[in-house]
């Protein structure tokens, strides 16, 4: 049994601890918002937060998450998630949408650590997330919009 916290809830899973966290989330815990894209940390579709840092869950064994806290798209805290999700809708980002959970999970860390990201910051943080539909321009716009909204919210 491996104990960990997922989206704020303590869970115990009886899965081989070498199993990538991605498959534990998707199959043992039914959290399918985190996607399988490549299995080798190339595309970012599986991005989740482990103790507040973005990781590629397809290459992180369950054992790495033991005793730690995992956040998935389903449990993204309101203050991190909602401004991005609203901006994603406002800029009409998703096409097929398959990569977007991972994109938002990466962007959430970017905006937490860097509330006013430059284009270079966006490039550095987001280049690990592939979008085959090619929504990059809109992702950039949505990140900038979310940053602006967050800044306005803070000033109020």
């Amino acid at each position: 049994m491996t104990d960990l916290t997922v989206n704020g809830k303590k869970v115990s899973v009886d899965v081989d601890p070498r199993t990538p966290l991605l498959w534990v989330l998707r199959e043992a815990l039914g959290l399918t918002g985190t996607k399988f894209g490549c299995g080798m940390a190339q595309c970012g579709a599986c991005t989740v937060h482990l103790d507040g840092e973005a990781i590629r869950s397809c290459v992180a064994p369950l054992s790495r998450a033991a005793g730690k806290s995992v956040t998935t798209i389903e449990g993204l805290p309101t203050e991190l998630g909602v401004p991005l999700q609203e901006a994603w809708i406002a800029e009409e980002v998703p096409q097929c949408g398959y990569c977007q959970s991972g994109q938002i999970m990466s962007a959430a860390i970017l905006l937490r650590d860097c509330p006013k990201p430059t284009d270079k910051d966006v490039d550095d943080c987001m280049s690990g997330n592939i979008c085959r539909c090619g929504t990059y321009s809109r992702i950039r716009k949505a990140i900038n919009l979310a940053a602006k909204k967050k800044a306005e919210g803070t000033r109020k």
Binding site: T32, G39, I89, G97, R132
Partner: protein, 711 residues
């Protein structure tokens, strides 16, 4: 394959269980392809596109799959417009498999060819208008007034201060005869169509709630990972499953027809089980396939005349220039790896799959399960990208799941690894183009010869009689056989390259390679004639004012002819495909290490009347990225019969830091409506290559572009 669109009428309506309006539209005279369909049109009694609940929710039954192109939203807009529905109450549901949902042109239930919006335009407007009429009549009957005194507005029917919602009227309306004729709105009165609408699928896609095929959960479901032959056409000789079966979580290992399925409690044990398999393959005749040798074979074929696709004037007219363009096999590489879930029982078979090809997949599931078509239920999920890879003529990824589930008597989800998906074939065919041209003393093109060598994925399929004419596969020569330039002498011919490597339609199909050859060669001719590439094209486009306007718009918006930053060059290309015309102007530079950077892409589009303008722009932006990924990185190669690429590290995609600035200009148009999913792709590579020539003087004739091209 073009049908008489005026032959549509309305046949049937009926009440849904639980009340509500169900409206069906039938198109007589359109039969499914019998070989693919395997089902009778009389199986289902109710046919439906519109369902209205007593809670006022209007559900549009979408018969086109949502794979990112925005089909769910655009088809819903078309219905909602004529229905005068409240857009906030619109929901979309994927259609079951039934001939009533067959494509209005292709005659089977499918999504492809950039056709979803225009092919449903008439049918769904009538479906919406007919439902509106029935709601109005129901209200009029209730109030004892003439329907002409009632109006449907934004989800309600009103008359003289009285109001009933669609939900309140749905049950009564559903009992009425559908009108024989319906009046459609004048375009001037459109409230939704032509204005940007928010995509209906976005909220679920930003919260992780959207269900793709890979997310399907069925009680008691097992997961399979399949070992497929390492060489295309290979056969299973023998296998030893002892080690695999000893792995924890592995339940079954079985031969599913020249493939070995490892079926386990989850993906990871299935994958580990597959790693532990010991398999002997008979690799077959393609075991020596080699990309370089194949290139020589294509070049040798191109020495001889091929099957003629187009001949104008005197094909022997003098040509003085020749250029050879080579394009590789390309993988679709949708973000969601292929997968399919099947649950085969004694008297039923359910399939959950993100597919573009419902009719074929449904028939394949019936065949594999040994059940009657009416016992098979296929659910279309969202598709994590399609690009043609999920419109599979042989339904192989559905067959695998059905076979596995039938054998183990449990629901099975087959998941392809990224490597399986990348190495699994069904590529954009490799293409070799030899283009010859001749200029007269005024710098006009007098002759154009284009010889194309590539495989056909149509030959030997049920599509052959529709797509192959006089020995020419239209998907191999499209674009080249309809040049937008006036050239008196033309000869376009094609050689079918030897088969074996599974190939398929890949976003923009034949146009994806023909446009590169055509628009690159036009640039070469322009430079040979010492003319500006825009001027040179314009001089040959007197009979193609629509195409010219698109080209001129892109050029003007891009600042064609204006000075550029040092080291940068501008290139342009225009191409018509899928009923739409797209021009791109690319601004690019090449680093001292031979790295190409596209800085800016200016795109102009004429796709006829537009339903959702933002969706058109999104498809153009996506098409630019798709085209750049292919031009800069895309290549599937073979050594000893094996695909050498495996994942995104060796088959890269454009990433955020490589993304150019893209601007899209929609040209207002009253021409016939075209498609937008694919046509943004073809002009990207030639515009980029032409920009590179402008920047460096180096002509790119082989894709992908390589750093060594600049040495």
């Amino acid at each position: 394959m073009i049908v008489n669109l005026s032959r549509r009428d309305f046949l049937r309506t009926g009440a849904l269980a639980g009340g509500g309006l169900l409206l069906g539209v039938h198109i007589p005279g359109l039969k499914p392809l019998a070989a693919l369909a395997g089902q009778e049109s009389s199986i289902r009694i109710l046919n439906a596109f519109v369902r209205i609940g007593t809670d006022d929710i209007v559900t549009i039954i979408a018969n086109h799959s949502e794979m990112g192109q925005g089909a769910y939203t655009s088809v819903a807009m078309v219905v909602a417009e004529e229905l005068d529905a409240d857009w906030s109450k619109i929901r979309v549901e994927s259609a079951p498999v039934d001939p009533v949902y067959n494509h209005t042109v292709f005659g089977i239930q499918m999504t492809g060819g950039s056709t979803s919006t225009w092919s449903e335009w008439d049918r769904l407007r009538k479906a919406g208008a007919s439902a509106r009429r029935m709601l109005v009549e129901a209200a009029a009957a209730k109030w004892g007034v003439d329907p002409s005194g009632c109006q449907a507005v934004n989800g309600v029917v009103t008359s003289g201060g009285r109001t009933l919602t669609f939900g309140q009227l749905a049950e009564e309306a559903s009992k009425r005869e559908p009108p024989k004729e319906v009046a459609l709105k004048d375009a001037r009165n459109f409230k939704l169509i032509g204005k940007p609408a928010k995509r209906l699928d976005s909220p679920d896609k930003v919260t992780g709630k959207a269900v793709f095929g890979i997310d399907v959960k069925v009680p008691g479901m097992l997961v399979a990972v399949v070992a497929r032959p390492p060489v295309f056409g290979g056969k299973l000789k023998s296998f030893n499953a002892d080690k695999a079966k000893a792995m924890p979580g592995v339940r079954h290992v079985l031969d599913i027809g020249d493939k070995v399925a490892v079926i386990a409690d989850g993906y990871w044990p299935a994958l580990k089980g597959r790693d532990a398999l010991e398999i002997e393959w008979d690799e077959g005749s393609l075991a020596s396939l080699d990309t370089e040798a194949q290139g020589k074979e294509y070049a040798a074929l191109a020495k001889k005349a091929g099957a003629v696709a187009r001949k104008e004037g005197d094909p022997r007219a003098a040509t003085t220039m020749e250029a050879i363009y080579d394009l590789p096999y390309l993988a679709h590489a949708a973000m969601e790896p292929l997968n399919c879930t099947a649950d085969v029982r004694a008297d039923s078979c359910e399939v959950w799959v993100g597919t573009q090809f419902q009719t074929a997949d449904h028939a394949a599931a019936a065949q594999e399960s040994g059940l009657k078509p009416e016992q098979v239920k296929l659910h279309t999920t969202l598709l994590g990208g399609g690009f043609g890879r999920r419109a599979v003529i042989d339904s192989h990824f559905v067959r695998e799941a059905v076979r596995a589930s039938k054998a183990v008597k449990a629901p099975v989800k087959v998941i392809w690894t990224r490597e399986d998906d990348m190495k699994g074939g069904f590529y954009r065919p490799r293409a070799h183009h030899v283009v010859r041209g001749g200029l007269n003393s005024e710098g006009r093109i007098v002759a154009w010869q284009q010889r194309i060598v590539c495989q056909s994925f149509i030959a030997g399929t049920p599509f052959e009689p529709y797509i192959i004419k006089d020995g020419v596969d239209k998907t191999a020569v499209e674009g080249a056989d309809e040049l937008p330039y006036e050239i008196p002498n033309q000869l376009i011919d094609w050689h079918m390259a030897p088969g074996g490597v599974p190939t398929l339609w890949w976003r923009s199909v034949g146009h994806s390679h023909s446009a590169f050859a055509i628009e690159s060669f036009m640039d070469e001719l322009a430079h040979a004639a010492k003319k500006d590439p825009l001027e040179f094209r314009r001089a040959h486009m007197a009979k193609h004012p629509r195409v010219l306007k698109v080209l001129e718009t892109a050029a003007e918006k891009a600042g064609w002819g204006k000075p550029l930053a040092k080291g940068r060059g501008r290139g342009l290309a225009v191409h018509e495909s899928f009923g739409s015309i797209i021009a791109h102007v690319v601004e690019a530079s090449v680093s001292e290490h031979g790295r190409v950077r596209a800085h800016r892409v200016t795109c102009a589009v004429d796709c006829g009347p537009v339903v959702n303008p933002d969706s058109v722009k999104a498809q153009m932006e996506g098409g630019v990225v798709f085209g750049l990924s292919a031009a800069l990185f895309g290549e599937i190669t073979f050594e000893k019969g094996r695909v050498q690429q495996s994942n995104f590290h060796d088959y890269p995609m454009l990433r955020m830091h490589e993304m150019p600035e893209v601007e899209v200009h929609l040209i207002p148009s009253t021409e016939r409506m075209g498609g937008v999913g694919e046509p943004g792709v073809p002009p990207v590579a030639p515009a980029l290559a032409n920009a590179i020539f402008a920047a460096t003087g180096k002509r790119i004739r082989r894709l992908p572009i390589r750093p060594e091209d600049f040495k």
